[in-house]
Amino acid sequence: MRAYIIRRILQIIPVFLGILIILFMIIELSPGGPMGNYIDPKMRPEMKEALAEKFGLNDPPVTRFFKWIGATLQGDLGQSIKFLKPVTEVLRPMIGPSLALSSLSLLLAMLVGIPAGIVSATKQYTLADNSLTVFSLIGISMPSFFFALLLLKFFSVDLGLFPLFGLRNPLYNAPNIFAQMGHMLWHLALPTVVLGLGSTATFMRYTRSSMLEVIRSDYIRTARAKGLAEKVVIYRHAFRNAVIPIITLLGFWIPALLSGAVITESIFGLPGLGKISVEAVMYRDYPIILAINAMLAMLTLLSTIIADILYAAADPRIKYN
């Protein structure tokens, strides 16, 4: 097992390098550049040129690529062109809110989606199953911006129960850290529901179909024939075998935890990686775009390894040599 993990981690290196090359090329090939933002007739072309030189934009692409790779490997992600400070400082305050939002919504999706999927499978074609299926279809098809606006209209404007925007009210003086956390959770409640809706539905559908397949297997019939309680049959024998596709799903979700939720963050005015990614792309703030995408690529690679290891934990039949 250990040898397998080490081998997998070593395999990441060439793949990651390949990704970085492609990433750099895509950004290089996209039209426009950071200097396109300097729209001021008083700024003479030679001044723009001097500024581009200071931002290191005048070197040929190959030189810039190697400079960037070299600096990145030493932990220096460069300077943001829009915010004029190190990329790490730009991104650091964005990671917390994005991570909080996506883990909360993932938690919500698992806590609601998986049990609902089990119920839906064990009570196939009953009223419960049908209504859950309808709910999941709505959840998958509902555009998140529309759902967000509906929630805002109802809960924030009409009922005044939740705040309209932001991660906190700067004028709120929290007596202690728990009150401050509660205050922020209150701000994150609606965004969590919006972001969690789609994934709840996805988790439910996966669990349902995977459970249905398992429930019909011979060993489940055997378990029932042994006289085991239905609960034990479903949750110990069936669910454990049905969980593998869900782990795959979870593996895909880990990078998404940090990629930020572009639409949700924008509508609720939350500072996060999704929102800053969009701003960076619109501004062509190359160092930020590169840093975020490189980070996501690395996370995706690592999470596939984690998912593979989890398979082995969930299913003793899977062994790595």
Binding site: G33, M35, P41, K42, M47, L84, K85, M94, I276
Partner: protein, 545 residues
């Protein structure tokens, strides 16, 4: 009877006392926070680094300025008085008494010199280098050849002189940057300076309390502001980033006092209908434009460009996109400016017959496929449209229909703003012919000098702002005369003639002058915004109920 009267008197007295007590509670403005909605703060708060409008508001609140302008756009000395000498090339500023930074240190002419030298510093990477580029000795100082900036001379603690290479009334706009304390911002390396970008300190009416990127900026009143007559009455300002979708609801729920919503009729109506909020509508200092690539064989004849303008119904376009929130563009000068000509300007009112006649006059006739043709060249043109905002697409769609009837084969290419800039103004010289039309919006400075802008042939370069390639000797001559003329009357005449010439020649068409909407809560008093004055300039007059 008497008893009853007594009781009434007693009751009234009690009520009166209660009122006095209550009003006593709300008497002070010191705890009132102005809630301002923004859409993007970058954190470049050092006065010489601010590039987006919200960062500039923060800088204006935190720093003091040598000059300010009135509602008519006339400049006057603010924390200093000034006089011109040396053939109008030298501005000598004398600082007022008692100016001090919020840490208590006095503001001296050394701080003024430091501020402007920093803009000219070899490592400076902000967007304002042009502000000092016209000063004597800029090139030597900027290249590092000289450690002395010859054009900036500190005379004594309160007096400082700036000398320009060439005299121009537009030079005054050099002095629009807040004065930064040298003892705080002084640096050995540029990254030391940038590290203070998010922690501004100045001599202004406010002090930065807290900044959270992409969330908010919190400012507290500088209760020790040196000019007592201009101390602010409110206690502070909270500028929060509010998503466009929630702006209206934020006002409805009382979460905001002031914001600038997108300018369109729906928004005006919504804010007009809202209780407790009054929209202020002002003429924005800027315009949207449609640029013709005048070097293309299809577009090099002014009559063709005029025909195209007669052939698009701009009144209907403005009605559809802006409602009452814009007017038809006439000349490349804001109608709010003294330089704007009141007469002799053609508005190119929609007239398909005139358009067809002009095409015919210019020698363009419809071929067998219905497309206009001249000397084997087809009237086939492309229009670069960015989709970041809706208006360029709407205008292009309307033009597509009516120009189609005239026999123009229009191809609309959709892209983002940055790509349009890259393919037009920023395109290398050998790629300047890859477009025919593009649309964009510019904001203007107060001085009408158009040097370096859309119509200046010297700006037809890679990265220059004249992408039309248009050259006209008289236009160039007028631009030069205009920036050298100190007599206001003669200068006005020069710009009138120039505006009429551009309106006739149409190398670039001014599409519309847009209004700005400012949603202001009725609780806020004294908020006077105008074309040339932002809400931050009169902040000391504002109170909140």
């Amino acid at each position: 009877m008497l008893k009853k009267a007594k009781r009434i008197v007693a009751l009234s007295l009690t009520l009166l006392m209660l009122l006095v007590v209550l009003s006593g509670c709300q008497g002070g403005q010191g705890d009132k926070i102005l809630l301002f909605g923004t859409t993007g703060i970058d954190g470049n708060f050092a006065s010489i680094m601010a590039s987006n409008v919200y960062d500039s508001y923060v800088a204006t609140l935190i720093f003091d300025f040598l000059i300010d302008n009135d509602a008519e756009g006339m400049y006057y000395g603010d924390i200093a008085s000034y006089e011109l000498s040396n053939g109008n090339r030298t501005y000598t500023f004398t600082l007022k008494d008692g100016i001090k930074f919020s840490d208590g240190q006095p503001l001296t002419s050394a701080d003024v010199a430091f501020t402007y030298k920093t803009i000219g510093h070899p490592d400076y990477n902000g967007p304002r280098a042009y502000a000092v580029a016209g000063l004597v000795g800029y090139a030597d100082y900027n290249s590092g050849a000289s450690s002395d900036f010859a054009g900036i001379k500190v005379i004594d603690e309160k007096t400082i002189a700036f000398t320009f290479e060439e005299a121009s009334p537009a030079n005054i706009e050099t002095f629009l940057y807040g004065i930064m304390p040298e003892h705080y911002y002084g640096f050995n390396t540029w990254s030391e300076f940038l590290a203070l970008n998010e922690k501004p300190m100045g001599s202004g009416k406010f002090i930065l309390e807290e900044y959270r990127p992409m969330e908010f900026v919190r400012l507290a009143a500088n209760t020790d502001y040196w000019d007592r007559s201009k101390r602010v009455k409110i206690g502070g300002i909270l500028m929060s980033e509010v998503p466009e979708e929630s702006l209206l609801d934020a006002f409805a729920t009382g979460a905001l006092h002031v914001a600038q919503p997108q300018s369109n009729q729906d928004n005006v109506n919504a804010y007009r209908d809202m209780d407790g909020v009054t929209p202020q509508i002002i003429l924005g200092n800027g315009y949207t434009f449609l640029c013709f690539n005048t070097l293309q064989p299809t577009l090099n004849d002014a009559r063709v460009r005029q025909a195209l303008m007669y052939g698009v119904d701009r009144v209907a376009f403005i009605e559809a996109v802006y409602g009452d929130m814009a007017t038809v563009g006439l000349a490349p000068i804001s109608p709010a400016s003294w330089a704007f000509p009141d007469s002799g300007i053609n508005d190119y009112a929609f007239d398909m017959d005139k358009a067809a006649a002009l095409f015919a006059e210019a020698g363009w006739v419809k071929g067998s496929d219905g497309i206009l043709e001249k000397d084997g060249v087809k009237m086939s043109i492309n229009w670069l449209v960015y989709t970041d905002v809706a208006w360029p697409g709407r205008l292009a769609e309307m033009a597509y229909d009516s120009w189609g009837q005239l026999g123009v084969d229009l191809k609309i290419e959709l892209m983002d703003f940055n790509t349009v800039a890259a393919r037009t103004m920023d395109a290398p010289m050998d790629e300047k012919m890859n477009f025919d039309l593009y649309t964009m919006g510019f904001s203007l400075s107060i001085d009408p000098d158009p040097t370096g802008a859309l119509f200046d042939y010297d700006a037809y370069t890679e990265g220059g702002f004249n992408a039309s390639g248009y050259y006209n000797a008289r236009s160039q001559e007028l631009i030069t005369l205009g920036k050298q003329e100190f007599d206001q009357g003669r200068r006005t005449e020069i710009y009138h003639e120039w505006a009429r010439l551009m309106n006739e020649e149409l190398p670039t068409v001014i599409v519309a002058y847009r209004n700005e909407i400012w949603a202001v809560s009725d609780n806020v008093k004294g908020m006077n915004i105008s074309t040339y004055q932002t809400w931050v300039q009169n902040i000391h007059e504002i109170t909140i109920d």
